[in-house]
C-alpha cells in the first residue's frame, strides 16, 4: 500500500514513465500467472542445462508432462471453478478413485461396454458434485466440511465395491490407452488431448460466458453479487457440479493412464489439485485468477516430478521432501513478487 502511494507521489523527470510502467505491471491482475509461467520456464531451462545429455531437450519430454498429468489438469480445472467462487472441494481425489473403481467394476465384473460406462460414471460424478453443492447452499454448511464428507463417502464406496484392485483388460480401454496422436515433434495420448480440450472449454466458460462472470462475482463478494441479483444458489451448485464432473472425467483419464481400478487410487490428489490452482495464482479466497494459471500450476508440479525422475537414485522419501521444498520455494517466490499488489 505504502509502496504504490510513494511511487505515485514521486514521479519526476525521466523516471516517471518507467516507474508508472512498473506500477502498472505490479498492479496487473495477470502478474501471478506471469510469475508462475516465468518460474516454470526457469525450471525447464535449469532442467535443460542439467540433464542435456539425458535427453531432457527432447520435445517429447515436454509433451509427456501433458500425458502424465492430464488427469490432474482436468481435476485442477474443476477445482479452479470451485476456488474461483470462494469455495473448496476436498472430494476430488476420492471421486477420482471412486470413478476408476466404479468403471473397472462395471467393465470387468459386470461386462458392460465402455460406451455405456463412461456417461454413467460422468453422471455419477456430476450428481455427487450437485448433491454437495445443494447441501452447501441450502443448509449453509461450510464447503470444507461437506466436501470432506464427500471425501469419506466416495473413498468408502470404493472399498465397498471391492477391497482389492481390479485390473482392466478390456480391449477398448487398452487400445484407447495406447493410441498416440502424432503432433510433428512428438505425440500426445487421448487423455492429454481430452485434458487440453477441457482446459479450452473452461477458459471459454470462465472468461466469455455469463456463468463465468457470475463465478467471479460470487467469489469476489457474495453479498454484492446477491444485491446485483445474480442467482447465487444456482451458480454455487453448478460450480460444485462442474467440479464433480471434472473429477469423474479425471478419474476416467486416470483409469486409462493406469488401466486399473484401485480403492487407493489418487489418495490426496485433491491437495495436488488445490496446490496447482494456488501455484497458478488463483486466490483461495476466490474472485481472482485465471484458468491458464492452473495449467502452469499443473505443469510445474509435473516438472518437479520429472526433474526428480531425471535426477534418478532418489528414494521415495527424497521425492516427497524435494516436492515439499520446491513447493515452498515456489510459494515464497510468488509471494515475494506479488506481495506489493495484495498488501
Amino acid at each position: 500500500m505504502s509502496a504504490t502511494t510513494k511511487t505515485r507521489t514521486a514521479p519526476e523527470g525521466g523516471t516517471a514513465s518507467q516507474t508508472s510502467a512498473i506500477t502498472r505491471l505490479l498492479g496487473d491482475r495477470r502478474l501471478p500467472v506471469l510469475v508462475t509461467a516465468a518460474l516454470f520456464l526457469a525450471m525447464y531451462i535449469t532442467g535443460l542445462s542439467r540433464y542435456q545429455n539425458y535427453g531432457f531437450a527432447e520435445p517429447q519430454v515436454f509433451l509427456n508432462l501433458f500425458i502424465d498429468n492430464g488427469y490432474l489438469l482436468v481435476a485442477a480445472v474443476g477445482a479452479t471453478f470451485v476456488i474461483m467462487s470462494g469455495g473448496i472441494d476436498l472430494s476430488v481425489g476420492s471421486l477420482i478413485g471412486f470413478t476408476t473403481m466404479f468403471t473397472a467394476w462395471l467393465v470387468e465384473r459386470q461386462g458392460l461396454p465402455l460406451i455405456v460406462v463412461v456417461p454413467l460414471a460422468l453422471g455419477v460424478g456430476a450428481f455427487g458434485g450437485f448433491l454437495m453443492g445443494y447441501v452447501i447452499h441450502n443448509f449453509e454448511i461450510q464447503p470444507f466440511i461437506v466436501t470432506l464428507a464427500g471425501l469419506f463417502l466416495f473413498r468408502g464406496l470404493c472399498l465397498v465395491i471391492s477391497k482389492e484392485s481390479i485390473s482392466i483388460s478390456d480391449s477398448t480401454v487398452s487400445s484407447l490407452a495406447q493410441t498416440r496422436v502424432p503432433l510433428g515433434l512428438g505425440d500426445l495420448s487421448i487423455g492429454a488431448l481430452v485434458a487440453l480440450a477441457v482446459l479450452g472449454a473452461a477458459f471459454y466458460v470462465l472468461h466469455y460466458t455469463r456463468f463465468g462472470r457470475r463465478v467471479y462475482a460470487i467469489g469476489g463478494n457474495e453479498q454484492s453479487a446477491l444485491l446485483m441479483g445474480l442467482p447465487l444458489g444456482g451458480t454455487k451448485i453448478a460450480v460444485y457440479t462442474v467440479s464433480g464432473f471434472c473429477s469423474a472425467l479425471a478419474g476416467l483419464l486416470f483409469m486409462l493412464y493406469i488401466q486399473s481400478g484401485d480403492p487407493l487410487h489418487a489418495v490426496g490428489m485433491e491437495l495436488d489439485a488445490i496446490a496447482a490452482v494456488v501455484i497458478g495464482g488463483t486466490l483461495l479466497t476466490g474472485g481472482s485468477g485465471y484458468v491458464i494459471g492452473t495449467l502452469f500450476g499443473v505443469l510445474v508440479l509435473g516438472l518437479i516430478k520429472s526433474i526428480i525422475q531425471f535426477e534418478g537414485t532418489l528414494s521415495s522419501w527424497w521425492t516427497k521432501i524435494a516436492t515439499g521444498v520446491l513447493l515452498c520455494a515456489f510459494i515464497l517466490i510468488q509471494r515475494a513478487m506479488t506481495a506489493r499488489k495484495q498488501t
Partner: protein, 366 residues
C-alpha cells in the same frame, strides 16, 4: 406467573440452543446404539488393578485425536487451518523412537526423556515454521501447512531410513499404552493438556485475543494486539499437541512408522473441531466441543467394530455422521425440517426451495 409448561418449554429451548447440545446428543445416541449389540457396553470392570471397558478404551484410543483436535481448535479460531499435524505426528514419533533405539539401555529414564524432548522440540519447530509462513509471509494457511504435510512424511521416512523402527522401552511404553492409578496414562496426559489449554484461554485474556485475531486480524493489530505473534504461538501450540500425540501413537505401538503414523489425523481433527461447533471461519471456539467431537469420531469407529459392520464401510458411516451432525447444527436445516420456531414434530423435509427465493433469506440470516 408463568405456567409450568411454558417454563419447561423455555428451559428446553435454552438447552437445545446450547452450543454443546447437538454434539452431546449425537455422542449419547452413538453410545446407546451399542447397547443392543453389546449389552454390557457401559460396564467397567477391574482387572489386575486396571480399569477395563468400552468407555475406557474409547477414551484411550481417542486420546491422540483429542490432543491434535485441541491444538487444531485454536488454529481454526484464528481463521487458519493446519494440514501438517499428521506429518508432525510422524516426525515426532520417528525422531523419538530412533533416538531411543540407538541407546544401549532403552529403559534408562534420562535417555527416554531426552528423546521425547528432541521429538517435541522438532514438533514445535515445525509449528514455528508454519506460523512464520502464515503470519510473517502472509501465505494462506492451507497452502503454508501443505508444505510440511507433503515434505514432513518424507523427512520422517528419512529419519527412520524408510523402515519401521521398533523399540523396547518400558518407560516410553507408559505414555501411550501404560496404566497409572488404574486408568490409562494417556487419559492423564490428555486431561492435563486440555486443562492447561482451557485455563490459558478462558482464565486469561489469551482466548479473547485468539478470537479477536480470528475475527479480524487487521483490526486486532490496529487496536494493539500483536496478531502475528498470537498466530505464530497458536501454530506452535498446535504442533506441540500433535507432537505429544505422536509420542502417544508411537509409544502405543512401540514403533515409528514414517509413512502411516497419524495418516489422515488432520482430517479427523478438523472434523472433530467442526462437530464441536467451532466455525471454520474463525473468531470463536469451544475446547469442550472439540473434545466431544473427537469422542464422537472415536465412538463411531469403535461402534463400527463392535456392531460387526464390515470395516470397509467405516468411511461411509463416517460420512453419514458428518452430514447428520452438520445438518443438525445448521440453523437453516433445523428451520426447514423442524418448523420455523422449533415447534412440533419433525416433518418431512421441505420442498427444495428454488435458489432464487432461497438466496435472500440466507443472506439476511447471516
Amino acid at each position: 406467573m408463568s405456567t409450568p409448561s411454558a417454563a419447561t418449554t423455555s428451559r428446553w429451548r435454552a438447552l437445545t440452543h446450547h452450543h454443546l447440545f447437538w454434539p452431546v446428543a449425537v455422542l449419547v445416541a452413538l453410545l446407546l446404539v451399542n447397547v443392543p449389540f453389546t449389552p454390557d457396553f457401559f460396564a467397567i470392570r477391574m482387572t489386575d488393578g486396571h480399569l477395563y471397558g468400552s468407555l475406557v478404551s474409547i477414551v484411550l484410543f481417542g486420546s491422540p485425536l483429542i490432543l491434535v483436535a485441541v491444538g487444531m481448535t485454536l488454529v481454526i479460531a484464528t481463521g487458519g487451518i493446519d494440514l501438517s499435524v499428521g506429518a508432525v505426528v510422524a516426525i515426532t514419533g520417528a525422531l523419538t523412537c530412533s533416538y531411543i533405539s540407538d541407546q544401549a539401555d532403552q529403559n534408562a529414564l534420562a535417555g527416554v526423556f531426552l528423546a521425547m524432548g528432541i521429538g517435541l522440540v522438532a514438533a514445535v519447530l515445525c509449528g514455528l515454521w508454519n506460523g512464520f509462513l502464515v503470519a510473517r509471509m502472509g501465505i494462506q494457511p492451507i497452502i503454508a501447512t501443505l508444505i510440511i504435510m507433503v515434505a514432513g512424511r518424507g523427512v520422517a521416512q528419512l529419519i527412520t531410513d524408510g523402515k519401521i523402527i521398533t523399540i523396547n522401552s518400558e518407560p516410553y511404553k507408559l505414555i501411550g499404552g501404560g496404566y497409572w492409578l488404574t486408568l490409562p496414562f494417556s487419559i492423564f496426559v490428555v486431561a492435563a493438556v486440555v486443562a492447561v489449554t482451557v485455563a490459558l484461554t478462558r482464565k486469561t485474556a489469551l482466548g479473547l485475543l485468539v478470537e479477536s485475531v480470528g475475527g479480524n486480524a487487521e483490526a486486532s493489530r490496529l487496536v494493539g494486539i500483536r496478531s502475528r505473534r498470537i498466530k505464530i504461538m497458536v501454530y506452535m501450540f498446535c504442533a506441540l499437541c500433535a507432537g505429544i500425540a505422536g509420542l502417544m501413537i508411537s509409544s502405543n505401538t512401540s514403533a515409528a512408522d514414517g509413512n502411516n503414523a497419524g495418516l489422515w489425523i488432520e482430517l479427523d481433527a478438523i472434523l472433530a473441531v467442526v462437530i464441536g461447533g467451532t466455525s471454520l471461519l474463525g473468531g470463536r471456539f469451544s475446547i469442550g466441543g472439540t473434545v466431544i467431537g473427537a469422542l464422537v469420531i472415536q465412538t463411531l469407529t469403535t461402534t463400527i467394530y463392535t456392531i460387526g459392520v464390515p470395516t470397509q464401510t467405516n468411511l461411509v458411516f463416517k460420512a453419514a455422521v458428518v452430514i447428520v451432525v452438520c445438518l443438525l447444527q445448521s440453523p437453516k436445516f433445523r428451520a426447514k425440517v423442524f418448523g420455523a420456531k422449533g415447534r412440533g414434530k419433525p416433518t418431512a423435509p421441505a420442498e427444495p426451495a428454488t435458489p432464487a427465493d432461497a438466496a435472500p433469506k440466507m443472506e439476511v440470516s447471516r
